[in-house]
Symmetry: C2
Subunit: 255 residues, 2 copies
């Protein structure tokens, strides 16, 4: 096609009101909402490809997606027009989705296939009293978490390993369950505990299953070094529960 | 009525999903939701009286309300049962409404008539980039606010004065527009600017109209000492715009 151009977007969204990223016929999804908006702006149907198909309720500060289109609108014009429409501006009201950046890339660029790695944050509020204003933005745990024990357990994660124990049923079929985790750190900041994890790819629910396992270790229900045998078991039953979606943030995709 | 008891509740809520406090026939309101829940728990119809009828989108950390009822449930049992129901617990999920405290009071206690004063916070996010996760919790203003100018203007507010200039049309009719403001302070904390205001009572939209006026002064569109002539004018047209509801928090009611 003549004058086809490739637009690369970094996207932030509050996942609370969406049935996840991936377009679905009868559900409100981030991809669906954005495709509708971009198709309007470009005056032709547009299809987005994202690095990660986040689940319902999961958030993003740095989702990465691209689309090809023959529109003549420059990326910075698209960025401004999209954010204006998304903000539904009434006294500076801010939208559920924001485009962080938009640039033009070579036609060969593919947001998913070209991704070299991803960084996620899992956010726990660890305080006796829940904060109603954070109810859709973190996992509320009232009992005190031992972050040193969690960090000790997390230190067993990095490396290229078979992480089948953290794969939930229900995802797309995978050829291999081997992934490389580059780092996993646990840190407390006031009433919050952050689990930051970076790797070359993640299995279905993998970060939430790691977060649930680390939470159980932080509560003293499991030993930090149990993490070694959990990974070796390759058995989902041996790992901890799936932490809820509202604590998970896709922070960055690396290329 | 025999064994009639008076329950006093302190209530926190995220006002985003509600058409305000006050019960309305066909709208989802905080009062309506709580009355339904409390009537279920007490097994008899219950009517709440609140200190303040907050508007749609306005939040509370310390709304105060009471109801009389002949239930035998002790206040602490009611607190626990109500919060359990409100939390819709699935992995410690937190509700939009939380009961902060519940105590029994003498039958004569009335949450509105006995209130001696109220404290509100108006929360502005003052940063170039909006934060989508705070879109329902503060007023986003991109241009830098001069907090010293705002504080200078705010210093003209305390005292017993006719605050008609800050009364929006559309509220309940008022015998008098004289109110006493005890303090009004403006402080920056990182990307946020807080306006804290305390007084014996507030007119319809009064805090939001003060916040809008202070914001215009902070942006340099008006002089700090214009506040004096604005108050003296007793004219709504001379004051600033009505700041949006999502920045307003009812913090505490005094008795």
């Amino acid at each position: 096609m003549a004058n086809e151009r490739n637009f690369w977007l970094i996207i932030a969204y509050d996942g609370t009101g969406f049935s996840g990223w991936q377009r679905q016929p009868a559900a409100r999804t981030v991809c669906g909402a954005l495709e509708e908006l971009l198709s309007d702006l470009c005056r032709m149907p547009v299809e987005l490809t994202a690095a990660s198909r986040t689940d319902a309720g999961v958030h993003a500060r740095g989702q990465s997606a691209n689309f090809t289109c023959s529109t003549g609108i420059p990326p910075e014009g698209l960025l401004r027009a999209a954010n204006d429409a998304l903000a539904q501006s009434r006294l500076e009201r801010v939208g559920e989705i924001g485009i962080v950046s938009a640039v033009e890339m070579p036609l060969a660029f593919h947001a998913r296939y070209d991704a070299k790695g991803k960084r996620y944050r899992y956010r726990i509020r660890n305080a006796e009293k829940p904060d109603i204003f954070l109810r859709n933005q973190c996992y509320q745990i009232a009992d005190p978490l031992d972050c040193e024990a969690m960090q000790q357990a997390a230190s067993h994660l990095p490396g290229e390993k078979d992480f089948r124990c953290f794969l939930s049923a229900g995802g797309n079929p995978q050829k291999s369950t081997v992934r490389r985790i580059d780092s996993c750190t646990v840190a407390r900041q006031g009433d919050e505990v952050y689990i930051d994890i970076e790797g070359n790819g993640f299995l279905y629910h993998m970060v939430r299953n790691i977060a649930g396992t680390l939470a159980e270790i932080g509560l003293g229900r499991r030993d930090p070094d149990d993490m070694i045998s959990i990974i070796e078991s390759k058995d989902r039953q041996s790992a901890g529960h799936t932490a809820p979606p509202q604590g998970l943030y896709l922070e960055e995709v690396f290329y």
